[in-house]
Amino acid sequence: MGTTAAVLTAEGLRYRYGETVALDGVDLGVDPGECVALLGPNGAGKSTLVTLAVGLLTPQQGTVRILGSDPRRAATRRRLGVAQQTLGFPNTLTVHELVTGAAVRGGLRAAAAGPVLDELGLADLRRRRVAKLSGGQKQRVQLAMALVTEPALLVLDEPTVGLDTVARRHFWQILARRREQGTAVLVTTHLIEESAAVADRVVVLDRGRVLADAPPDELVTRLPDRTVTVRTGLDRSELEQLPGVLSVTPEHELSRIQTRSPEDLLRVLLDRDPHLSDLRVQDAGLEEAVLALTDRADEGTDATGTDGGYGRDGSQRAAEVTG
């Protein structure tokens, strides 16, 4: 992180909105071809970090560099491709006009749009006005606009929301090809398990601080929690009373039990419910790891009494983190 070869380097970034601290000393690096997922609950500072990275804000402290240059410089920003979830298109323009426009704005010839339209399966829709596209097709148009300039860094905000499974797989396949060619990807998402599948590294932010920066597998192994899934006659409240149980989530006719000592739990469970079936024990997923990290940060802040009303119970945070 922070090497001269890095596409994105952020060091000691601090940013406040009035009294609210959005970023509090964030370091981040993204290397060529690397995919980094930025995770965290709402208000964690993800948007501010991304806005600084694309040069739309000036750091109050610290530095951010794209290929060693200030992202506020126009020439630097032309090395970026950005797709944001909230972007709407002018309904009067066609797919082809939007993508050629992006190419020209990025300093290329309009003809550069052709191969990207083909790559994203938009060639047949080129003459269609964007108002007549489905949500998934609009996502692809936005990705085409971001990719057409052959960016060094792709910044994606919830890129696969609204895409079906096939389109989602196609999307990540396209990105994988680009990454092989050296394009770095910084993705902010609430789809944690998806980011576990595609990201080289996961950066967990909360209250403007980096809680973790590691490969997804490493994050998961840091968490001692296991998930025990069973079909049982015991109800939720009974399960919650069992030793070592952290949480219980009903899932159809099954119960998902979070625990740090599955062996102890299983002994008691088998003893209490002789009809227990469909037993499965799994390592915690990335989602649980991220929740554990952010919850732990909550507890730490609550203990110091400096939370300022931000603290929530686990279920609410789970809802926020998973979107």
């Binding site: 739309l56 920003r77 944001q84 909230t86 972007l87 298109f89 426009g101 020209v104 704005r105």
Partner: protein, 249 residues
């Protein structure tokens, strides 16, 4: 951004703006059909009369022409900016390193081109009705004056678009435009308006623009109107700069 790229990006921006106007029938109605329709109606009714020493049909090219060009200049850029902000499109352009001046300049230029279209249609209609009694040179001067005179209205329009959402922008700009047109004698010759309205008109930039246009067809004072418009432009530029500094893009 080098000059070549600036020109090409401006071309793309302008092209998109013109497409937006052409492909959006409601904007065409308000920006072209309504002013030209009013002009045709009044020209047919009163075009052969005489006002301020020239034919009413000719004078209407200046007065209704003022209404036509400021309608386009005051509505299109501001509404466009507000829509782009609401969509996140202006932010996308900023990320794409498109200078805000190019985006706004393209909107202003698109409005100007439509203003040219409005004036051309009015000129052709007046000539067809036989009410146009002015040299081509005089008409070109009128067009030039009116088009240059749209600058402060474009600036105000952009300022409103930078501060308000689309629907509020449309409402505000129309609320501004309508009384300006009535009080400045753009629809009814100023001399037919009540005394109090004539006094108010002297403080309105639309009045000075229309009078400057009329002065190209006859012999009227020029300096006072030019100064009034310059002052308005300076004020409008200040408002636009402030609006940009406080805008959430």
């Amino acid at each position: 951004m080098n000059a070549g790229l600036t020109v090409r990006v401006f071309g793309v921006e302008l092209r998109d703006e013109l497409r937006a106007i052409v492909r959006e029938p409601t904007s065409l109605f308000f920006s072209i059909l309504m002013p030209v329709g009013f002009f045709v109606l009044f020209n047919l009714l009163y075009g052969h009369d005489t006002t301020q020493g020239i034919s009413a049909g000719t004078a209407m090219v200046a007065t209704f022409g003022t209404y036509g060009v400021i309608t386009v200049a005051a509505l299109q850029p501001g509404i466009g900016v507000a829509q782009d902000r609401d969509l996140g499109w202006l932010r996308m352009k900023r990320v794409s390193a498109v200078p805000i001046g190019i985006s706004l300049g393209a909107k202003a230029m698109a409005a100007l081109l439509y203003g040219v279209g409005v004036l051309l249609l009015m000129g052709v209609a007046a000539a067809a009705f036989g009410t146009l009694h002015a040299s081509v040179w005089a008409m070109l001067r009128v067009a030039l004056v009116l088009l240059l005179g749209t600058v402060p209205f474009t600036l105000i329009s952009v300022a409103v678009g930078l501060r308000f959402r689309t629907n509020a922008t449309i409402a505000l700009l129309n609320a501004l435009l309508f009384p300006l047109a009535v009080l400045s004698g753009l629809w009814i010759p100023i001399q037919f308006l009540p005394h109090v309205m004539r006094q108010i008109a002297k403080f309105l930039p639309t009045y000075h623009l229309a009078q400057l246009g009329l002065s190209q067809l006859g012999h009227g004072p020029v300096l006072l109107h030019v100064l009034a418009l310059l002052l308005t432009t300076l004020g409008a530029a200040g408002v636009a700069v402030m609006a940009y500094r406080h805008a959430r893009i």
